[in-house]
Assembly symmetry: C2
Homo-oligomer: 133 residues x 2
DNA sequence: GTAGAAGGTGACATTAATGTCAGATTCAAG
DNA sequence: CTTGAATCTGACATTAATGTCACCTTCTAC
């Protein structure tokens, strides 16, 4: 097996994490401050993220895109088995999440209708102004 | 036929429009200033929206929810046959809209994945803490 | 050890739609 | 006319993630 020596974990520094996730260093530091990410520190104070943070950051971005605020995400993450979470959502949190879910449903509807609008306008323009006559 | 007298259009004031669309008066005034809505004015300066604004406002909200900014929406609306638009999108606008469309596609993906996350966490909580044992 | 790349912290700015408030004016019904 | 509801304008605030900059420290390869 590869990586059988020591703890078998190659820490990731913030620059590499930013590059691999497409999320700015600025945002990664913000995520850490909001409790969405945990990082070890070198003796000199540089952050060392675990490998798993790559997927985690991507998931966090998706949740941000879905309109959740950092506080909600911070509550949600510990309940996700996917990222080693073992917590169970409290009843209050479940209520919150159900509301978020409804909002997401509505937003998906808005997005689908808006996409249709764009498609119609684009198609109409291509009909009126064909680039390949 | 109903409404055969005169111009046959009952104008809508801002309060009623707000109530019927769920959009605040503040936002409706903002939409007008951004060129998304056009309103006649009474002698005293009060806005009189045409009936069609009800659907139009709802569509505008959907487009905002889809992440378009007011400037893009202002360009888009005149190209929508649905709302009496007769314009054809310029090539530059089509390019813009295609970019928006990609973004919307990506966002739909994010929303679907995020919704799944919420469903999992909610389901897990309901399994661990059943309200009806 | 040294130079340059990478990282740390903190502060200030931004964006864009929306909320809110105050004071003045208009509208509609008595 | 009068009165109360509705509307107008303009200004200021907010939100929340992210950008940017300045200045300093740490890391890494030579």
């Amino acid at each position: 097996m590869a990586g059988a020596e020591g703890d078998g974990e190659e820490p990731v520094r913030i620059g590499e994490l930013a590059r691999r996730t497409g999320v700015s260093e600025r945002s990664l530091r913000y995520y850490e401050k909001q409790g969405l990410l945990a990082a070890e520190r070198t003796a000199g104070g540089h952050r060392e993220f675990p490998e798993a943070c790559v997927d985690r950051v991507i998931r966090i971005q998706e949740l941000f895109a879905a309109g959740l605020c950092s506080a909600k995400i911070a509550q949600l993450l510990p309940c996700m088995r996917e990222y080693g979470g073992s917590a169970t959502a409290s009843a209050a949190l479940v209520d919150d999440l159900a509301v978020e879910r409804s909002r997401i449903d509505a937003m998906i509807g808005d997005l689908l209708r808006s996409r249709e609008v764009l498609d119609e306008v684009i198609a109409e323009a291509r009909t009126d102004t064909p680039s390949t006559p």
